[in-house]
């Protein structure tokens, strides 16, 4: 089975633009989480979705939004990009309800650079 896949691999945007990142979970997984990893830091939790509903949200501004589709894939949208949004964005999927006791499987990430 394929692991968690994310697209695109790399992305370059300019300040003020909008970006959409995509994530496909492992087949059979119903929960998807998004994390932001700034260079030199650990991942920061952004969102968690289970069965197309938002179950958790981190301390990120409203410029960040996400959704989950009926096939359990997910998109992360970031509006009005700032230089500080430059980071590796990680997606993780898990089989169960998405509570952290389920093992999370991470994708390779999307590297976003904002100029």
């Amino acid at each position: 089975d394929a692991g968690v896949t994310q697209s695109p691999t790399h992305l370059i945007k300019t300040r003020g633009q909008q970006v959409t990142l995509r994530c496909s979970p492992i087949s059979g997984h119903k929960s998807v989480s998004w994390y932001q990893q700034v260079l030199g830091q650990g991942p920061q939790f952004i969102f968690q979705y289970y069965e197309k509903e938002e179950r958790g949200r981190g301390n990120f501004p409203d410029r960040f939004s996400a959704r989950q589709f009926p096939n359990y894939s997910s998109e992360l949208n970031v509006n009005a990009l700032l230089l500080g949004d430059s980071a590796l964005y990680l997606c993780a999927s898990s089989w169960g309800t998405g509570r952290g006791t389920d093992t999370q499987y991470f994708g390779p990430g999307t590297r976003l650079t904002v100029l």
Partner: protein, 113 residues
């Protein structure tokens, strides 16, 4: 508030030597704790996790970790390091409610021949 501290930004060990990576957490109740590894260009991979029970947890790739409540620590160990272990290691704690995982800043491991 829950938090995770990894005191060492980077550590260098010789191949074949033992390894201990430190992790301290701040949490009001019995924590759910994790160690992940991230190799360059790769996503995070779970090494091991602690929820309850035996305080010595065995993981993949020969790693183990010991939960010490009195010291609020969850240190990762390996008896003999291989060059392929060079990577970044993250300790993490699950926040109450179960939907949010807080990661430490990471410790980068360098392995010298």
């Amino acid at each position: 508030a829950q938090s995770v501290t990894q005191p060492d930004i980077h550590i260098t060990v010789s191949e074949g030597a033992s390894l201990e990576l430190r992790c301290n957490y701040s949490y009001g109740a019995t924590p759910y704790l994790f160690w992940y590894v991230q190799s360059p260009g790769q996503g995070l991979q779970l090494l091991l996790k602690y929820f309850s029970g035996d305080t010595l947890v065995q993981g993949i790739k020969g790693f183990e970790a010991e939960f010490k409540r009195s010291q609020s620590s969850f240190n990762l160990r390996k008896p003999s390091v291989h060059w392929s272990d060079a990577a970044e290691y993250f300790c993490a704690v699950l926040v109450t409610g179960g939907f949010k995982t807080i990661f430490g800043a990471g410790t980068r491991l360098f392995v010298k021949a």
